[in-house]
């Protein structure tokens, strides 16, 4: 199975670009769902003989990141009758160019940060790139739902890096990440629902009353 983890990581980066370049909200959510699925498969590809711990991690990740959360986001779109376009602050072309620069920079930076096991070296740049692109989406898309998508990508990047430690440090870290995503987004979702009720739109640009 040589090269399978690398392939999966490339696909993860590709889904990041889909989120950056797409004009439709539902496509963004689909991309993040695919990203969750890829993230779920990665532990299996990296640690084929990992035993029940790795299987559990895979099952939990796919359940939460690829099924539950995307469904929750889609429900929020339907429930809140959000307009379906992304409406970014920064244009799509610029976003994509930014993504390219970030990925290149991530590869350059990770050369100075060596891992103990060279076999997993791809995880570092993929993780850094996903984190930065997630932050970018979070800050340049004004829709509350897309900010949730950006935050999910950020969390996915952190998760990717955590994969380098699956063998050395059992459980707690993955449980922490999953719990965090789940509860964090759940609460955000409730808030999203309230934003909609209060403002008749899910545009966090309306949230600008508190200033100095």
């Amino acid at each position: 199975m040589q090269g399978l983890p690398e392939l999966l990581l490339l696909l993860v980066i590709l889904t990041c670009f889909v989120v950056l370049g797409t004009t439709r909200l539902s496509a963004c959510i689909r991309a993040v769902a695919w990203q969750g699925l890829l993230l779920g498969l990665l532990p299996l590809a990296l640690y084929p003989r990992g035993g029940p711990h790795v299987w559990g991690l895979t099952a939990g990740t796919i359940l939460v990141k690829a099924i539950v959360l995307p469904r929750f986001l889609r429900w929020a779109i339907r429930e809140a009758a959000v307009r379906r376009e992304v409406e970014p602050l920064v244009g799509y072309v610029v976003s994509l160019l930014f993504g390219v620069v970030v990925v290149a920079a991530a590869f350059a930076v990770s050369r100075t940060l060596p891992l103990a096991e060279p076999a997993r070296e791809m995880l570092v740049p993929a993780s850094l790139a996903t984190v930065v692109i997630g932050l970018f989406v979070l800050t340049t898309r004004m829709k509350a739902l897309l900010q949730v998508v950006g935050y999910l990508m950020l969390e996915n990047g952190v998760y990717l890096f955590g994969l380098t430690h699956v063998e050395r440090i059992p459980f707690l870290m993955e449980a922490g990440v999953l719990l965090d995503v789940f509860v964090g987004i759940f609460i955000m979702g409730i808030v999203v629902f309230h934003i909609n009720r209060e403002f008749d739109s899910l545009d966090s640009a309306h949230l600008s009353e508190l200033t100095d």
Partner: protein, 477 residues
């Protein structure tokens, strides 16, 4: 077992408070949780409890100082809440109390964790538990506040987690038998940590935990959140949450100091600290809302703490002492401002004369004003003095000078605003109701504690502070 009980009992009280529907039982549940925890803390001072779970939970001097501070503050808040819940009925009352107790359980976990991932879980639990408390009024403004808070602090906490992963990677070359991410083993094997990963880890943890503390430029959620949250919650956030985040930063500073990357972290700490103080000074001048004023004051004091860590030496002692003082003073001020709210109806401009409507609360607000601006004879004067003099002795003359000037500017800004509220003709013409003893006793105790700390530091506390400073690479004066 004491360590486990410190975390589990408040959590159980939270469950109990949520399960119990009767409104008159809310305050007793809160009081029960606070009293149990305070009792256990006193017990821990008398006989130090042994580590638990392979050293994941342990109580060292720094943890003990933080734990004591937050449980004293929580006990005061719980007693204040008796009066508060009589006057106000926060929406979802039992959830309100349950969230407060869950928040406190998270704070205990942070203070006791010697495992970085566990510490992170505690901070995350605190972050989530406090969100419904900010949102309790369910209107536009509190919605905006809670959204900003959730987004910014979730990003911060995610970056902190990445920093913790980096720390684990830095430890990859450690000999077999090393417990990964356990503080003692990290410090003992600090010289074998991979320097590039350790530096990256420090940067991410500084930014992530700095977001939780409210260091500039990651502080933007703070004025909005403090401005909208109920004062009980504001006091806990400004006192407990910030102290716990600072503890996390102090832990990674411990590791970095032991690894000998001081020259790398010092400019970072000093830079963020001074920037925070400067931003706070700029926004305090002309600030009209009392709670937003306190938020910027919190940014200032967090900056001061980080400067203390950065200058090292006696500065580390000063930083730990200042963390205690800051938590107590912020509790005092938020509760006193809470009384202003209950008596005058708002903290926005054109409200004044609290000294006439509610003299005791007015006096407490005045005491808080002098304490928070670092006037003698209150505690913050001593700790600020320790930090500034450490900067002088370390040869950082311009840093000491900058801190001094910023403190003076902030003194004028805060003083002008609070004196407006305290003096002046009373607004509103309804006759003043008698002050509820529950609403003034707690803050008065805090005022007394701050005064005592400014005059005399008890021997056991001094030893704990000295040991904590020693772990951070500093020493007592």
């Amino acid at each position: 077992m004491v360590l486990l009980a410190l975390v589990v009992l408040p959590a159980l009280a939270a469950v109990g408070a949520y399960a119990h529907r009767a409104p008159e039982w809310r305050a007793p549940w809160l009081g029960l949780g606070a009293a149990l925890q305070l009792g256990l803390v006193i017990f821990a001072w008398i006989s130090p409890p042994p580590p638990l779970f392979d050293g994941w939970l342990a109580l060292d001097a720094l943890g003990l100082v933080v734990l004591t501070t937050v449980s004293v503050l929580f006990a005061v808040v719980a007693s204040y809440a008796v009066g508060y819940l009589r006057r106000e009925n926060p929406r979802g009352g039992r959830a309100f109390v349950a969230c407060l107790l869950a928040f406190q359980a998270g704070a205990s976990l942070v203070a006791l964790s010697h495992h970085f991932a566990l510490l992170w879980v505690g901070l995350e639990a605190m972050t989530l538990a406090v969100a419904p408390l900010i949102f309790h009024r369910h209107d536009r403004r509190s919605l905006e506040a809670v959204w900003k808070y959730l987004v910014i602090s979730s990003v911060g906490i995610a970056l902190a987690l990445l920093g913790i992963f980096f720390l684990a990677t830095a430890q990859a070359a450690a000999p077999a038998g090393t417990r990964p991410l356990v503080l003692e083993d990290l410090v003992a094997g600090a010289r074998q940590l991979h320097p590039a990963w350790l530096r990256a880890s420090f940067v991410f943890l500084l930014i992530g935990l700095g977001t939780k503390m409210g260091l500039a430029p990651m502080h933007t959620w703070k004025p909005d959140t403090y401005g909208e949250a109920p004062c009980v919650v504001g006091g806990l956030m400004a006192g407990t949450l910030t102290s716990c985040a600072f503890l996390g930063l102090a832990r990674v500073t411990e590791v970095s100091a032991a690894a000998g990357i001081g020259p790398f972290i010092q400019p970072l700490l000093l830079g963020f600290g001074l920037l925070s103080m400067a931003v706070a000074a700029a926004f305090i001048i002309g600030q009209t809302d009392l709670r937003r004023l306190l938020a910027y004051s919190s940014v200032e004091h967090m900056g001061l703490l980080v400067v203390g860590l950065g200058v090292g030496g006696v500065g580390a002692y000063g930083a730990v002492l200042h963390m205690v003082n800051n938590a107590l003073v912020k509790g005092l001020l938020f509760l006193a401002v809470g009384n202003v709210l209950l008596n005058l109806g708002a903290t926005s401009p054109a409200r004044s004369g609290i000294l006439r409507r509610a003299p005791l609360s007015g006096v407490l607000l005045l005491v808080g004003l002098f304490a928070v601006t670092g006037s003698p004879p209150f505690g913050p004067f001593l700790s600020e003095f320790a930090i500034v003099s450490a900067a002088f002795r370390g040869g950082h003359y311009w840093i000491a000078g900058a801190v001094f000037v910023l403190l003076a500017v902030i003194f004028i800004g805060i003083g002008a605003r609070i004196l407006d509220v305290v003096h002046g003709p009373a607004s509103g013409d309804a006759p003043a109701p008698r002050e509820d003893p529950w609403l003034v006793t707690g803050p008065a105790m805090l005022a007394l504690a701050v005064l005592v700390l400014g005059v005399y530091i008890p021997r056991p506390l001094f030893e704990a502070l000295s040991n904590a400073a020693g772990a951070l690479g500093g020493w007592p004066p």
